[in-house]
């Protein structure tokens, strides 16, 4: 495929139209066809189990924030491993290639050890 013509995107557009059309059709269709009965029990958010109370948008514990942020930090470091892994085969002869990544991971693990020692992952 040398050049991309606008016509090549037609299947994608058709798929979009089908997807959106189905949603609209479903919503309007069920609204028109379905019987409309309201009762206190039916409008409750949960029909079984414990009664719902309060707002769903509660402020939640900051501990979750810390865990989430630490996850993001350690997660992002993986992108440095991608280029390393992709070029791994070509660089097998390069003596330091493997150890460079080991060094990187050691630094990462030192950081991990630090947050454990600091108690950032303690729940109580």
């Amino acid at each position: 495929m040398a050049t991309a013509n606008p016509i090549d995107y037609l299947p994608i557009i058709i798929q979009f139209i089908v997807a959106i059309g189905f949603v609209i059709f479903g919503m309007i269709g069920s609204h028109l066809l379905g019987p409309k009965k309201h009762s206190k029990v039916k409008d409750d958010s949960f029909e079984c189990g414990i009664e719902a109370q309060g707002n769903a948008r509660l402020p939640f514990n900051v501990k979750y924030f810390l865990t989430a942020i630490l996850f993001v930090l350690f997660d992002v470091e993986v992108i440095f491993m991608y280029p390393w892994a992709v070029n791994f085969r070509d660089n097998l002869g390069n003596g330091t290639w493997f150890w460079e990544m080991i060094l990187f991971v050691v630094f990462l693990m030192l950081g991990f050890l630090y947050i454990i020692k600091k108690g950032a992952l303690d729940w109580d």
């Binding site: 630094f107 030192l110 050890l113 630090y114 020692k117 600091k118």
Partner: protein
Amino acid sequence: MKAIIILSALGLATMFVGVYNFKKALLPMILLGLLAVIGINTMEWNTNIHYYNDMLYFDNWAVSFTNLILAVSILVFLLSGQYFKKNTDHLEDNYSIIIFTIIGAILMVSYSNLAMLFIGIETLSISLYILAGSKKTSLASNEASLKYFLMGSFATGFLLFGIVLLYGASGTFHLHGIKDYVIENHASLPTIFYVGILLMMVGLAFKISIVPFHFWTADVYEGSPTLITAFMATVVKIAGFAAFLRLFFTCFSSITEHFVPILCILAVLTMFLGNITAVYQNNFKRMLAFSSISHAGYMLLAIIALKESSFIAILLYTAAYSVATITAFAVLLMIKAAHQENDSIDTFNGLAKRSPFMAFTLTIAMLSLAGIPITGGFFAKYYLFANTISAGYTWLVVLAVFNSAIGVYYYFKVIIAAYFKEGSEEKLSIFPAYQLVLIITAIATLLLGILPGLITEMM
């Protein structure tokens, strides 16, 4: 280069020594480490090695700026022992973050690839955002941190877009590659290249607080913990100007006509606004913040001149300025220890009676900042202005001298408060570490003023 590796190890060691509860050992370890790094770094003098595919280039300028940064950091660490005495909960965090800040600063003075400039600036800035907010319960510190963070990342955005546009035009991140590109395509540089220069200028101007990108400075300096302000006011200025000069001198010195007029306007605005606003300040920290803005204006003249000797000018000027600023903050810290968190200039009233030694060192520092002869500040200014005149910008120097005269007024306000105003009579006790710092800075200031040849001959 070795300096960066050893400092990284030192930073990690600091973290773990603190975690395993040897907090008493932290400060001696860091001070010894920094001294060792100065020694090892000095051995790279005249070696001119390109490291890691020309990512870093340790020429003599990089080595001397690194040493200056390390020396100033040692002074800050000497002050820190007393400062953190009451609150040692996060001692190791504070110390290790300061060390990582120093690493960022060293990257900024030794880069030869724009990627390293970016990493350096970000290492420096992100660490400083945390340090600015390190007084967690103080609202002022929180605000300073948030303000610094938002403005700093905003500046990073500009810097980054500038780097990208330069890359788009020249196809390389290496300073020498960009330089070759500029020389080859001297006549037909694309528009995105000029926009790139402009955006990088904006980004760097934010970091070194050049008017009109200075508005965060006073608030951040005032709100941050005083010790961190001392660190920010000195190390960031040194690293920022070294990075600015390195970029513009290496890459763009053949197309000065396109950006020097802008820099001239910025320099004039910075000098006037910094000095005139400083006159009206009653808070000592805010006054020093605006004085740092005006000094940034003077130092911009070295970048406008854009010659090899501009490096000496910046080195001398940042050295004199940093040493004097550290003195001022050390005295302020000591007075604050007695006066419970009051930064007003009135707290200096009667300082000469309370502690003649402190008043004397403060006077030397203020004279140096004002640029009065036999202090380091005078010679640094003289060299800077002479350098600018020889590049043909006499009118700028005239304005700068006029501004220095305004500066004398508010620096003398402090001296007058210390010597001629009545204040509390109670004697101030001086901590040994502070005494040491004040003696070192006073001697350094006088030495820079009397024997400036020590530095200029060396280069």
